[in-house]
């Protein structure tokens, strides 16, 4: 803004000089005529887009003289006869910030015309005020330069022909080999069978093969053994646990709200289980996304698809009093758009919240058009009942609540005089004299300050038993009658069905209070809606989305024009629908339309971004290394044709992720050795970007714990259900916030379930995971960091859980091979590392067991680098 201010100043001084010689006068025409000819066109183009009766940015309406004189949050806009002191003039002239209008500044002539008009009395004409779209203001920019679409990621993926190479047949290898040959790189040989087996297990299910599984693979020497392993792993229920976890990183999933109260999300785990099941069922990715964006708007909506919308609300929420804090709603919408953008589209849409994107052709208008597409967004609890019954249940519940509250109010009226008396008594005892004085002063005689004090202090509570003690029997009897009436009403209350946490359309201004909303008193201080309405759509007619406005500079209090839904201009091909009206009329169908655009074959990003994520998890690095950013500051694809080809193939195969795994894992590239050195290769491509050997990858935090438990034999592989709370020392629990749930469980078989099921608390991540680079659970994650730091060593050396598991592992080994130390060492290696020890390792291991114990060896094994890697 700074340069603009300067240029305005320069212009202004130019004007002053010029007008010294050529005074502009309105005397030739009446004030109203001058307005019509000179001022109205300016206002139509600039002011009225944001300062009208309907949209009053900064509370200011400039469409009539009265309104302008009244002014807005900053005071009157115009002082007739005195332009120099009029805020409107000062802001357009750059004398005072923020300079106006947004976008292209007024010309010197226009500024001078406004000065003249105000100095001559600021008359208006009688015509109605209608805004016309002006230029230069980002709310009205509707297109990006044609060249922006030339960028690779905004072009639709092409079905590139397979490169001709002599030594490889698999399509993936042909693309890779072509690049290798260009750089003179030679591919690593195939890894040995056991390495491959362990790689596939850790990759697809996140668990090592058992001894039996290893044995079975070793004896299966018939052609197709590798494919059979892949098939069995894809059919395993643990596949969904493993790959679902990858998606939960994208979905910034946690089991609590975060922030001060960190309220428990008692049913969030149902979304987690939905994700696991979606992977196990190989739910087509387009459908998977559609359900998560609009599972409540489908033609065949089910509980499952409703649960899927948990994706939208999986981020952190301040929760309490959000209705009173408009900025929080915008933060939540931003959270949704950021997750959709970085997670699904590979774009940093959130950067366009306050201004056009600095690097990518993403308009601020795009941001708010997308906001408009999701603006029906409300978070609701929904009963797991058939639709009609669900609505019945909600209606019955609302009705009962209302009836109960009426009776409660009658009880309150009976108790009030006694409560008031006791309050005064309490104030007399516990508060200073000035407070008591304020309360004792008759209401009409209180000073303004006393009124405030009295109002504040009278919100204190008094103990119920004290009220009962002073209340006469007669009133008690009346109260009893009312209480039994409440009981009668309550007896009609149907049993609460299981509830799910969903997102659907509604009107956020009527959001009912929920957990955490009541903790801080003074409901009467809250912003109350001015007109009647309802949270979820009720009654006849179709649901209408509350008005969704462009926010000037992203400020929730500076409403710009109302916007209709639209999508990213640069990534939109054709003319996608923006609303798909729903037969039941309860939602707008905007999110469904959004989902259609996101999962369309004509969306250049969605398939590419997902294919790239899958590739990343298989190879430890994406074809585009910045998984969440395909924009200009993201990395370029190392193999653009391959990425395109995979994306097209993926869509042609019905968006099947399992097919994609099969395709990738049957390539030679996936089966290359990681322990392979080539000086020539290293010189040309030290970082192995062109994939001349397999890339060893450290296990993720959850996998480290899972693999330890799987190796020790202690793991409980039950799939799904409520979260678990493995033991955390009290002193660590004490470091976290006052609120928040952790039902600390004693370490033992009950909590030896897969890490996927460990409760995710936003204000306190499980320390073991934290040490091994758990990503921030509050924003959608890109690839995980891999650090190698001393606390990891300390954890594996000293953590009681790890030591117990080592003990358990030793016991299991000793049970199978009670006497023979060499056999024990071999067995420990085979179980933990899917291979036999070398002669040297066997010797070292035998010595350790002889001199110390088997437990020493199993503990050392948990600390081996090899144990922590997928190679």
């Amino acid at each position: 803004m700074q340069p603009k201010l300067v240029s305005n100043r320069v212009m202004l001084s130019a004007v002053l000089v010029v007008t010294g010689f050529l005074p502009v006068s309105a005397s030739a025409q009446s004030g109203a005529e001058f307005f019509s000819h000179e001022i109205r066109p300016i206002m139509e183009r600039t002011c009225w887009n944001c300062h009208s009766e309907q949209i009053q940015s900064s509370g200011l309406d400039l469409t009539s003289r009265d309104a302008a004189l009244t002014g807005g949050a900053r005071g009157p806009a115009i002082i007739p006869g005195n332009a120099d002191d009029s805020r409107l003039f000062r802001q357009i002239a750059g004398l005072e910030g923020p300079s106006m209008p947004l976008g292209v500044p007024l010309t010197a002539d226009e500024i001078e015309a406004v000065r003249t008009w105000i100095n001559d009395g600021a008359e208006w004409d009688a015509a109605p005020a209608t805004a016309v779209a002006g230029d230069g203001f980002s709310a009205f920019i509707t297109d990006v330069p044609a060249s922006a679409r030339d960028y690779w990621a905004f072009q639709l993926p092409k079905d590139h022909p397979l490169p001709e190479v002599s030594n490889f047949d698999h399509p993936v290898d042909r693309f890779l080999e072509q690049k290798r040959q260009d750089r003179g790189l030679s591919a690593a040989p195939k890894a040995d069978r056991l390495t491959l087996l362990r790689r596939a297990y850790l990759d697809l299910i996140g668990l090592p093969p058992t001894l039996e599984e290893t044995e079975a693979f070793l004896v299966d020497t018939a052609p197709g053994a590798w494919e059979r392993v892949i098939e069995s792993l894809l059919a395993s229920p643990h596949y969904g646990e493993r790959w679902g976890r990858h998606w939960l990183d994208v979905a910034r999933y946690a089991d609590s709200d975060g922030y001060e109260q960190d309220v428990d999300r008692a049913n969030a785990w149902r979304y987690r289980d939905y994700v696991v099941a979606a992977f196990n069922d190989d739910k087509p990715y387009d459908q998977f996304i559609t359900e998560q964006l609009a599972g409540d708007e489908l033609d065949n909506t089910t509980h499952e698809t409703r649960i899927a919308t948990g994706f939208l609300r999986a981020g952190p929420r301040v929760n309490f009093r959000e209705k009173d804090n408009p900025e929080r709603r915008w933060d939540y919408l931003d959270d949704v758009l950021e997750t959709l953008g970085r997670g699904v589209l590979g774009l940093t849409i959130q950067c366009a919240r306050c201004h056009d994107h600095k690097f990518d052709p993403i308009l601020q208008k795009d941001y708010y058009s997308l906001t408009s597409a999701i603006f029906g967004y409300v978070e609701a609890d929904w009963p797991m009942l058939p639709d009609a019954q669900a609505l019945d249940y909600l209606a019955t519940k609302a009705d009962l609540d209302e009836r109960v509250s009426v009776v409660r109010e009658q009880i309150r009226e009976i108790e009030q005089p006694y409560v008031d008396e006791l309050k005064v008594e309490r104030i007399r005892q516990e508060f200073p004299q000035d407070v008591l004085d304020a309360v004792l002063t008759p209401e009409e005689e209180r000073t303004d300050g006393q009124k405030l004090l009295a109002a504040q202090v009278l919100t204190i509570g008094v103990p119920r038993d004290e009220v009962d003690a002073v209340m006469p029997e007669e009133d008690k009897t009346r109260r009893e009658v009312l209480r039994s009436r409440i009981q009668d009403i309550e007896s009609e209350r149907p049993e609460e069905p299981p509830m799910i946490e969903i997102v659907t359309d509604g009107d956020y201004r009527y959001t009912p209070d929920r957990a955490g909303d009541n903790v801080l008193g003074c409901p009467e201080c809250r912003i109350q809606p001015t007109e009647p309405g309802s949270f979820l759509h009720q009654g006849n007619g179709n649901y209408e989305v509350p008005p969704a406005n462009f926010l000037i500079r992203g400020d929730p209090f500076s409403l710009g024009p109302e916007l209709q839904p639209a999508y990213l201009t640069v990534a939109t091909y054709g003319d996608p629908v923006t609303e798909i009206p729903r037969p039941n009329g309860r939602t707008s169908g905007r999110r469904l339309a959004l989902a259609k655009w996101v999962t369309s074959q004509d969306n250049p990003l969605t398939a590419r971004v997902w294919v790239n994520r899958v590739w990343h998890h298989h190879f430890g690095r994406g074809i585009v290394n910045t998984l969440d950013n395909f924009g200009v500051v993201g990395d370029r694809p190392t193999h653009p044709e391959l990425l395109d080809w995979l994306a097209v193939e993926f869509m042609d195969q019905g968006w099947s992720t399992k097919e994609l795994h099969r395709l990738i894992m049957t390539s030679e590239a996936y089966q290359m050795a990681s322990a392979f050195e080539s000086e020539q290769n290293s010189l040309a491509d030290l970082e192995n970007h062109l994939l001349w050997r397999y890339r060893p990858q450290r296990l993720e935090a959850e996998a480290v714990r899972d693999v330890i438990m799987a190796t020790s034999g202690g793991i409980d592989l039950t799939v799904g259900g409520k979260p678990i709370f493995p033991y955390i020392p009290q002193e660590i629990l004490d470091t976290a916030a006052l609120f928040g749930r952790w039902d600390n469980q004693v370490d033992g078989p009950d909590v030896w379930r897969r890490s996927l099921y460990v409760y995710r608390r936003r204000t306190l991540s499980y320390p073991f995971f934290d040490t091994f680079d758990l990503p921030n659970q509050n924003i959608t994650a890109a690839s995980r960091n891999t650090s190698t730091v001393a606390p990891q060593a300390l954890t594996l050396l000293n953590n009681p859980f790890v030591l117990d598991q080592a003990r358990l592992f030793a016991r299991q080994v000793a049970e199978i091979a009670p006497y023979d130390i060499d056999q024990q060492v071999a067995l420990a290696y085979q179980t933990a590392l899917t291979r036999s020890p070398t002669a040297a390792e066997a010797e070292i291991g035998r010595q350790l067991v002889e001199e110390r114990s088997l437990r020493d060896l199993t503990h050392v094994i948990f600390n081996l680098s090899e144990f922590l890697y997928r190679r």
Binding site: T348, G449, Q456, E731, L764, Q792, A793
Partner: protein, 495 residues
């Protein structure tokens, strides 16, 4: 802190044996600065204190990195007053509150405003007496008689403002610059920018109030989108400083040593299959650091060797000052040993009106307690650092998540106020005895030279020799700065 730190398998002999020839002469040997430890004849080496051994330089993940320009300070001690101390009752003297006592603030400022809890009350004068102190005649309330003696070393910032009246959001703002969860904390940025001067201790150490952690929890010292290795390491001020630092019961030192030696041998053999894989080498050396840390971390906060006079200076001889005094003394020991950033939280979760500075319901009781707990320890810290010539190299920062309202809450408390708070800085060669910025007549909002969290952070980085515009971290396609896009160093502080 009366328990001696346990050293189950730590001894000087162990240390020397191990570092001289243990762990099978791994790559580590070449990483060690032999001048510091090994070139000594055995007899000289024997005389090295554990402290000196723990100060030896090793290469590693947190190798010191050069600053952008000559730094004014090497380390930071951040004193976070959790709950939000009241500026009008500590350092921001507002006689006008007496004049306007009982008047609605709304009438004076001409606009409505919201408070965090319930409804606003009328203006309330401070129940505490103020006086001017030092040559600089700085105003300090009777709550801080000890600190008042050091005002000539302190620069007060009377106009630090924030954007949220919610504890957690504003704590995040003061710690990370953002009110949302998930951004790296200032200590994390400093570690990222400068690394560590001590390779046997974490670079960024956090100590919580003895009553519990601050509101906001570990996110207050988290690494956000940066690698987790930059996050603060929580030190406990009693027992073992770090979780999982100590070998658990039932495992002897000798046994662990044996396991470590075998582990090193096997990992070394494994690494040979992957020559040039730096991660594997780093993993091996991380075990060495872990081993050193087991000895050095307890030593670093072992205050038994401190003189009685020093302990008294921090108030360790009185029950009320003992907990925070101990932490302040430990903070000095940590910066002495090259720890880059020490974050202390004064006030922890628990009962609102006693456990943090959050004086909603009884200002007098609350602030009297917390000032009494922290005044002498902080004054002692300043004096001790000064006596030892460390104050010029150390930046002390004091603030809360927000200030408090000049109006009363039910006649006895004060509600949250992000509009302004008084923060202060000392050390790092900062000109003391100055007041920067000002709040309005009532202490409601920053009026002159408003200072944002971004400005404060930019200032801290500058004092450490880091250009806040150049210290960037690329995440999700954007070069993030701690100071975001608008922070700038406070000119009077960096002058």
């Amino acid at each position: 802190m009366s328990d001696a730190p346990k050293k189950k398998f730590w001894s000087r002999r162990d240390f020397l044996m191990q570092s001289g020839g243990g762990i099978a002469g791994m790559a580590l040997a070449s990483m060690l600065d032999r001048d510091a430890v090994f070139a000594q004849s055995p007899s000289t080496a024997q005389q090295l204190s554990i402290g000196q051994q723990c100060s030896a330089k090793f290469a590693g993940a947190f190798e010191p990195r050069p600053p952008h320009f000559a730094p004014r300070a090497k380390s930071v001690i951040s004193l976070f007053m959790s709950g939000g101390p009241s500026q009008m009752d500590t350092f921001d003297y507002k006689p006008a509150l007496t004049k306007y006592a009982g008047v609605p603030l709304e009438d004076l400022i001409g606009e409505k405003f919201a408070v965090r809890q319930g409804m606003p009350g009328p203006l309330m004068p401070s129940p505490f007496k103020f006086a001017q102190h030092g040559e600089s005649r700085m105003w300090v309330s009777e709550l801080f008689p000890h600190l008042a003696k050091h005002v000539d070393d302190i620069a007060f910032i009377k106009s630090l403002y924030g954007r949220s009246n919610d504890h957690i959001q504003s704590t995040y703002e003061m710690q990370t610059g953002q009110i949302r969860m998930g951004f790296p904390s200032v200590g994390c940025w400093v570690t990222y920018g400068l690394g560590s001067e001590n390779s046997s201790l974490p670079a960024f150490i956090v100590m919580n109030d003895y009553r519990g952690g601050p509101l906001g929890g570990p996110n207050d010292w988290g690494s956000g989108f940066m690698p987790a290795s930059y996050q603060g390491t929580l030190f406990r001020s009693s027992g073992d400083p770090i979780v999982d630092l100590e070998t658990p019961e039932g495992l002897t030192a000798d046994q662990q040593r044996a396991r470590l030696d075998v582990l090193a041998k096997l990992n070394q053999m494994d690494m040979e299959k992957y020559p040039g894989n730096s991660e594997l080498a780093a993993r091996i050396s991380s075990y060495e650091l872990a081993y050193r840390m087991q000895g050095c971390a307890p030593e670093a906060i072992d205050i038994r060797a401190e003189s009685a006079a020093t302990k008294k200076l921090y108030g360790l001889d009185e029950a009320i000052t003992e907990p925070f005094g101990t932490q302040c003394l430990m903070a000095r020991r940590l910066v002495e040993r090259g720890v880059r950033f020490v974050q202390l939280f004064m006030g922890g979760v628990g009962v609102q009106n006693t456990d943090t500075w959050d004086a909603h319901s009884n200002l007098v009781e609350n602030h009297t307690l917390h000032a009494a707990e922290s005044d002498k320890p902080i004054a002692g810290l300043i004096a001790d650092l000064k006596n030892r010539g460390l104050l010029d190299d150390t930046l002390i920062v004091w603030h809360g998540e927000f200030g408090r309202m000049p109006i009363s809450q039910r006649g006895v408390g004060r509600d949250h106020n992000p509009g302004t708070q008084t923060a202060w800085m000392a050390g790092a060669g900062i000109q003391g005895g100055q007041a920067i910025g000002a709040s309005d007549e009532w202490g409601y909002k920053a009026l002159e030279q408003p200072v944002s969290a971004h400005d404060m952070h930019a200032t801290m980085l500058h004092l450490l020799g880091l250009d806040h515009k150049k210290l960037t971290y690329r995440y999700s396609g954007r070069d993030y700065r701690l100071s975001d896009i608008e922070g700038k160093p406070i000119p009077q502080i960096i002058a």
